[in-house]
Symmetry: none
Amino acid sequence: MSVDKSLRMRRLFNLLTNKTVLYPIDHGVTMGPIEGIENIRAAVGAALGEPVDGVILHKGAIVRCLDTLSVDRNMAVIMHVSASVSLSPHVNEKVLVGSVEEAVRLGCDGVSVHVNLGPRHDTRMLRDFGKVSRDCVKYGMPLLAMMYCRTEAGDELSESGNRIAARAAMELGADIIKVNYTGSPRSFERVVAGCDVPVIVAGGGATATLLEFLEKIEGAMQAGASGVAVGRNVFQHRQPRLLLRGLAHLIHSQMPAKQVAELIEGELNDERPAEVVHGDRGTGTNHRTTAAVA
Amino acid sequence: MSVDKSLRMRRLFNLLTNKTVLYPIDHGVTMGPIEGIENIRAAVGAALGEPVDGVILHKGAIVRCLDTLSVDRNMAVIMHVSASVSLSPHVNEKVLVGSVEEAVRLGCDGVSVHVNLGPRHDTRMLRDFGKVSRDCVKYGMPLLAMMYCRTEAGDELSESGNRIAARAAMELGADIIKVNYTGSPRSFERVVAGCDVPVIVAGGGATATLLEFLEKIEGAMQAGASGVAVGRNVFQHRQPRLLLRGLAHLIHSQMPAKQVAELIEGELNDERPAEVVHGDRGTGTNHRTTAAVA
Amino acid sequence: MSVDKSLRMRRLFNLLTNKTVLYPIDHGVTMGPIEGIENIRAAVGAALGEPVDGVILHKGAIVRCLDTLSVDRNMAVIMHVSASVSLSPHVNEKVLVGSVEEAVRLGCDGVSVHVNLGPRHDTRMLRDFGKVSRDCVKYGMPLLAMMYCRTEAGDELSESGNRIAARAAMELGADIIKVNYTGSPRSFERVVAGCDVPVIVAGGGATATLLEFLEKIEGAMQAGASGVAVGRNVFQHRQPRLLLRGLAHLIHSQMPAKQVAELIEGELNDERPAEVVHGDRGTGTNHRTTAAVA
Amino acid sequence: MSVDKSLRMRRLFNLLTNKTVLYPIDHGVTMGPIEGIENIRAAVGAALGEPVDGVILHKGAIVRCLDTLSVDRNMAVIMHVSASVSLSPHVNEKVLVGSVEEAVRLGCDGVSVHVNLGPRHDTRMLRDFGKVSRDCVKYGMPLLAMMYCRTEAGDELSESGNRIAARAAMELGADIIKVNYTGSPRSFERVVAGCDVPVIVAGGGATATLLEFLEKIEGAMQAGASGVAVGRNVFQHRQPRLLLRGLAHLIHSQMPAKQVAELIEGELNDERPAEVVHGDRGTGTNHRTTAAVA
Amino acid sequence: MSVDKSLRMRRLFNLLTNKTVLYPIDHGVTMGPIEGIENIRAAVGAALGEPVDGVILHKGAIVRCLDTLSVDRNMAVIMHVSASVSLSPHVNEKVLVGSVEEAVRLGCDGVSVHVNLGPRHDTRMLRDFGKVSRDCVKYGMPLLAMMYCRTEAGDELSESGNRIAARAAMELGADIIKVNYTGSPRSFERVVAGCDVPVIVAGGGATATLLEFLEKIEGAMQAGASGVAVGRNVFQHRQPRLLLRGLAHLIHSQMPAKQVAELIEGELNDERPAEVVHGDRGTGTNHRTTAAVA
């Protein structure tokens, strides 16, 4: 990392633990106002005062939420500059819709870019990544690379695919790399080992239970991950604030996943004692909205 | 203020009180390594963890202190872009030595510019101010204007002079204005009233006692000031940390100056009971190092 | 070559022999953290103090290795600005991911670009080459062109294909040209003869024995090559340092390949006397990691 | 220092001792082709192969000497961008005659700028310094600031003046600061202490004997200096190469000044046994050419 | 010289002799339409087909003369970018009135800039020179520096003054330097020796006889000059074409001045046998128009 990025980087990671809990709310471009983010200001507002190190938003959303964001000095703002829309036949082909300069003007603390490797236009996405990376150096802006394997071989969760994707991002200038969990601490450790910058794990798709979800993240942390970026699993949770706090326990205090799950469920039960909490997920008809747990 | 500046502005003011304690350590360019700031990293380090909303530093000092600054997420960094050197016959003629773009690259939260009205080249300083103000809008960077009356009439502390200087800054794009105290809450109230942006008061020169110094700031706050920028009176104090805490009590908690002074002196006496603390000031042979109180 | 490039060029070639041993470690983008370069800093660190005239790295890797690189004044740094990822269906379509300006800012001594002639998008690669070449003149930056024949005719190692590819690079502004070995000194001599700038030979794919590998390079040198760029054959060797020293003997001192091989094997045997060193290669299941010899 | 400057900085300092012997040959602009540098190529050529960490030249001289400089990979090249001519009534008013971009294009390792504090136009020189400093960050170019006190009070060699001048340079972005010796290790130590970047000492004016000259530098080194920049005292010496070697002994090996002087004089006596070497200096009618010792 | 300037430089010097006869017709800006250049097209036209290596014109004059210039492929065009007007009290303060970019657009082969050292604003002229020099490198444009000593000491023709002026120009990037003759081959030799680029001699002021004028130039050539730039002494001559041919004999064929003078006078006598040729000059009322001989 260029030292020019130091002051902004200090806002993306907890200074004591050197770990981060990021909260992406950038799904509206791809999926529209899905459950949990119908009102973008309410969704962002729900994170205020919670132990979130940063939110990830598209530029228009940042402008809409400026007043909300301005009441929390400790929550960094990362501008997401990649987009595709689910209506398109090319939903895997992310294009640049924002620039580092715009992020600078809005006072953001970082920029995130999304690269899918495998699809038809992945060379363009790679080139776009190179440009954003260059501008991030020019303006001292931390760069979060969201790297996804979308090969026909179905590498999305493979160790080999994610090792390559993550490493490529590092060599091309990423300061933080977000990848999918590869299924086991052992395999994820090899992904992390191949990079020389912090790797964070994506919240990923639907899991059967809250515990399963938390154990996945716990596995990533044991493998050397530097944190997590969880969106839908938070905002589509019945109590986003509870989940954010739980994640902070998991990431910053190394509280075991099991204990975190009990804590969250305890709070939920206090509030709603008679309801079954887990086991009713994964039935959504739209695969894009089924990622949430609990 | 442009909304583009919102995210950075939220870091310059305490979000609960909407007031600010700024700590300028930019004296090295003008005066050299004077007492208290011989080692710039140590000087900045002494503010870490203290209730300082922001430090004001020259660009080279920021680069030297990046690692120090990076351990405190809550202390904003303002880059000072004006300079003159006391060795020069033109010490009142500030020139631009830094740019907003440099502040952007370093991840600063604001830029400050110094304008002396009155001297031979004040038109150039005004023009420079216009340029910096323009670039601050371009990059969404908050602009702190340090406005000084240096007329032959000796307007430095006059109400009329400071009213004009402060108002001019507001009309030309300042987001925060720093002026000297005009001697009474009533007169300072009129300075503040003429602006439509936060006005903060400079720590100013030496005062006979700590109480006197604090009462001056208390007066400014009563007049509607939004905070204070105190440099030498802090770093040349025997216990800079004590003074910073005292200022925070005064600014954010509205603790009376008298009580703050007793608090600071109590702590000092605990530490060094037999020594006379006040009343021995103002005797320095070098006018440049005699600004400190207590 | 523009004289503006003189000062940087003097760092890419040994001033006594006018030959060069370059060490590319840019494979991570295409192949991920393969054996030998899992840890980029360790891989670069292994070349410190060895007779390497320059390393070739992607921009992110340079930033990660700045402290490592900074302890060796004699090892030039070349930034590779082309990339593709093996996960992609378009691995032969290199795109620009870095710029000459970035290389300038990092204090690099050269820039390298990769052009594949033959694939679908080779016209774009050619145009990209033209742009990089233009910027190299603008900033006085030496340009290393890695030219590969990837025609359907399978020209990769042909004399005719490489003659065209190399010559095209020279005419479009390359200062150094890297091509594959064409199989014999006689044919490679004709490749070299068609250019008017230094031609260096790529380490290339797996060979049965260390001697075979070294003889290939020896052949290129006899044909007039100005040096070599060897990556995997070095970092996937059991003792990268031994191989680098061997290459220096071959390139700068014209030690016969046979003698170099004996020297390296002698050292290896001293270290591990009872083990069979060669002849067990080429069996890797992943074609990407089978390039190494011995 | 920005890490972007790392690769170039490693060429300006000996990596083992972290000290530097710089050789400025930029006098031609101010004084014309004075003795020792009539032929710029010969003057630069005389440093080839000697333990010189870097030469300081104007841009036109660099272009003239490119072929000479290109045979020594270890001698860094610093472009001096300030100038005044002795024919002018304003010889103290340095103006910018070169840019960082030009230094980049020529492959230089650093840029040096000269600021005189005290004269009529020192504010302009300060502003120029700010601009060069900005461009140095932009292009990752190390900046050597030559700071001189030229006040009416005659501060040229004063501790107080040089403390301010040096500190100002650091705060405004200098990576290396060159000042005059202040007469004693104790005073120079205070100059060095006020900066947070390497301070090197100027060779300065004529001294009665070689030993006196060397002892001055020895004093600076004892005070914490990081090296020396000596021009006329080298190139107007009867044997520039001997003096450069002597300086290297003094700076890098901490050989006592007395021993270095004996070494140099021994070599001179061997060569020219019957001639009186010292004590016949300082009689030049042109004050500009009388700086040399021995 | 940068090789980028090679193609244009080859037009400024005779390729066999490596010398040049330049013909400046830039006097109109300073002096108005003086005798010999009332009609700029006629003045330029008179040089067509003659052995002139290049004309020096202001940009407006070039535009007016484009059709005239277009019929002679062998006469290079140098754009003069400095100007002052004799009506001004500041006639010695040349300012930039043209740019290298304009010269590029017009297809010129060189640019010339005029610097007076000594007057009040010479620092500005020096800075301007630095800028033009920078742009000349950027665009590959040869730079002719006209250096004049205008000190109060009256250094205009002194060896010491011209040595400094010429050397300064070389160090700051001039490709060709024009200075006044210093009175003797011996002194001029020292001026030439201090530069490392071609020095040409100015035609200078009025001389008593044609022979005297030619001997001055002959002296300069013997001292190592690379040619001459003569304006008024040509266009105010009764037969400019004769003088241009004579200068070519002197410069390119090393014909002795005496023989050249006889040749010219012979031709004149053939044409106008009864007229007294010399000795009737120097009676002009405007000292600026009395420079011409014969």
